[in-house]
Subunit: 170 residues, 2 copies
DNA sequence: GACCATAAGTTCTATTTTAGAACTGTCAAT
DNA sequence: ATTGACAGTTCTAAAATAGAACTTATGGTC
């Protein structure tokens, strides 16, 4: 696959993967949410090569997730800060962290705890339905093609047929 | 960085990135949630090379996200289905899809719409606090070191000092 | 019995990406 | 004049990926 065409796929997941779907971007964004803003600080705290860091920051700026803000003239120096589009990635980051908390912790326990300033308590993120407020599970969701759907199904024909037969026989 | 050590980092995000943080894994998992289960079907609907698909499926099985279930003997054939650990990735998938819906759609609109069977309405996913039920934003969350935290801060010293000076001067 | 199709991989080479280290340019402070 | 901070760029070697062909096992067709 050509990764520069992924962002044009008729799939919101694929388009988001074009932005954050490599090994470094999510780690860089984690640092952004932890208030890291400068090139050398990203480099030192992540151990990423400078080459790749420059490349990824450029990509995140191009996608409008980060913005370069000058913090000094002579020599020109910039900080990388999250745009609103970048801040909106927070639910993705939090759901990833939460899955890691549940399924990937070792005996020592969670590396980080999260306090909700609004209510003052330690919390976990929960994903709910915008309409009824109930927690979401994969089985309770049905998918419909939207206005931007591709004509042919993304599902391979033979798989479609098998699914159809299975539905008929049930 | 050696990617095989990422899963041992004292960071739940890094450990999850070890599982899903490459370009193909999330796309493979999208297919799983759309009921794709067989090798050739993954291959045909994604256009991934067979080599890489075999590799990624093996990795997802190793991490306990997918399970191989035999569906025929002679010759032995398997289907790949989501385990509970895999099903628990649903909030990550949904938050990624939602971000793409909001920030990456073109003029034609969303490729997919989601209906919540429980309430019967089209919905968007919302991330809320488990304790008070309020929607979460990055600014309303404060991070504390947990029992599994590393001794030294993940934040580079010079950045820490800058943050300290900034806090004192405010 | 020879031939083709299905399915789930494996093997091969060529290309692309990444790692790791060194280097560049600009300015401030000593 | 020298050193250090900062934000990159440039280089080569190593690793990952793409793309296509091949393998193994079985069942059905001519």
């Amino acid at each position: 696959m050509k990764w520069d065409t992924l962002e044009e796929e008729p799939c919101s997941l694929a388009r988001t993967v074009a932005v954050i779907g490599d090994r470094w971007s999510l780690l860089i964004l984690r640092e952004c949410f932890l208030r890291i803003r400068r090139f050398d600080d990203f480099q030192a705290s992540l151990g990423i090569t400078r080459h790749l860091l420059a490349d990824r920051l450029k990509k995140l700026v191009r996608f409008g997730v980060l913005r370069k803000i000058p913090y000094q003239e002579a020599p020109k120096r910039y900080e990388y800060i999250l745009t609103q589009k970048g801040l909106d990635l927070y639910p993705i980051i939090m759901s990833i962290v939460h899955w890691g908390n549940v399924h990937m912790v070792d005996a020592r326990g969670r590396p980080l705890l999260h306090e909700h300033k609004t209510c003052g308590k330690m919390f976990d993120p929960v994903m709910v339905c915008s309409e009824c407020g109930e927690p979401l599970s994969a089985k309770a969701v049905h998918v419909h093609p939207g206005p931007g759907a591709r004509k042919s199904s993304p599902v391979h024909a033979s798989a479609r047929e098998r699914a159809k037969r299975a539905a008929e026989s049930s």
